[in-house]
Symmetry: C2
Subunit: 227 residues, 2 copies
DNA sequence: CCCGGTTTGTTCTCCCGTTCACAAACTCCT
DNA sequence: AGGAGTTTGTGAACGGGAGAACAAACCGGG
């Protein structure tokens, strides 16, 4: 990492172009480091950390090198120091307000998921278009009508929205979110969202994952595809 | 696609080595085709289908070319015909029994998720290690003790297991699954599973997805990483 | 101070996936 | 029958990521 001067772009001195694949792994490293820290480990080698994260050690080292030179040759990495550096890079040292739209089975599970809060994400509102759901309380949060979206986004400066609605409503919800100023969307609805370029979307599709497994399973058993 | 004779490997005449990335997209195409079919569309071009699936049309055509030559130049694809071909290739024309372990918030949401059954996946059992959960009924299925795993797997010839437990139990559950003969695992627990090579694992990690969005969000707002 | 052992950071090579661009093939109209 | 228009299937160029391998850097002992 050359680290030459300061790139004078948006961020003061942090890395400029971390590969997509690396960004996707940083949270995994972060979690592994947290586990190690809780176990009282003060220092670890790239081999150990890679093992705990389930990746190749060379890949781990290359990933970390994009952030800077936070290790010591011959020694390894200081667990807490590296943990902080990654957390800072990802942005989980700050608090991210989040809204969840669609309080069905999945939406409720998400609202109750403790992994969000513990990683810096705070669910500020649960929204649902169904009037029957009004005034219901899920995970200690009152369910509010979808039309409240704009007010909530403005009030809490929400940048991240989660869509857990049926497929048919997903695009409408996304459009409204974008109109309100939300710029990152996590989509659980099985529908390919169409959004402006500046808006980031990540999708999680449960049945697709199973279908991928089914494909490989089919090939394993050698039964192939029926003619 | 040459389609030369018969490859004489495991499967009778289907494609031999479909790229991983393509396999991951086939379910998306399948869903888009189903939607088109329900709308009464009989034929579609690669451009239309690509639009409905949210991908580039060139990529779509190349993906489909791995399966065979199912389109007609100058015309497009027959929706129902192509849909059947993809479904057969993925293996969703048959019925896949599935067990879900860990009936917390997420496990319950998964058990209730209608998208599984409608795509050829049948939840044959819900298991939980917590005795307090025994005899509870979720999604019309009785929750049974985790120790029943082996009997259930044997009885229903289960090949696919879903892990929705806390991180600490995930590896144990996976080990038991593998010992029972399960060869495909969908893991929702935030823990990198260690399994033998012949076992396929796909992981879905909710908080990692949000962290990836947070990273990009942080860069967008230009606030960068605090020094 | 010097040397062996250890571990990081980085370079280099290979492979997979994406995209462009175009020839082949089909339809429809005259 | 022939030609214009359309759309597929694929060859080729391109970019990015994975992994091996190695030089640079650090620690500790004598």
């Amino acid at each position: 990492m050359e680290r030459a001067a300061v790139t004078a772009r948006t961020s003061p001195e942090s890395a400029r172009d971390i590969p997509e694949a690396t960004v996707a792994r940083l949270p995994v490293y972060l979690r592994a480091l947290t586990t190690l820290s809780e176990q009282g480990t003060g220092t670890c080698s790239s081999e150990e950390l890679a093992g705990a994260a389930g990746v190749n050690s060379a890949k781990l080292r290359k990933d970390l090198s994009y952030l800077g030179s936070y290790g010591t040759r011959g020694v390894g990495y200081d667990v807490d120091y590296l943990r902080y550096q990654i957390a800072r890079e990802i942005g989980v040292t700050q608090d991210w307000p989040v809204v969840i739209v669609g309080i069905g089975n999945l939406g409720q599970a998400l609202a109750n998921y403790s992994g969000f809060r513990s990683r810096g994400f705070r669910v500020v509102a649960l929204l649902d278009a169904d009037p029957a759901r009004r005034d219901e309380v899920v995970a200690g949060i009152e369910v509010r009508p979808f039309d409240d979206l704009e007010g909530i986004v403005r009030e809490h400066s929400v940048a991240i929205g989660v869509i857990a609605t049926p497929a048919l409503s997903a695009q409408d919800v996304a459009d409204r979110m974008v109109a309100c100023g939300i710029t990152s969307i996590l989509n659980f609805a099985p529908f390919p969202l169409n959004v402006p370029d500046q808006v980031d979307v990540r999708k999680v599709d449960l049945s697709i994952e199973l279908q991928i497994l089914a494909y490989r399973e089919q090939r394993k058993t050698g039964q192939g595809a029926p003619a």
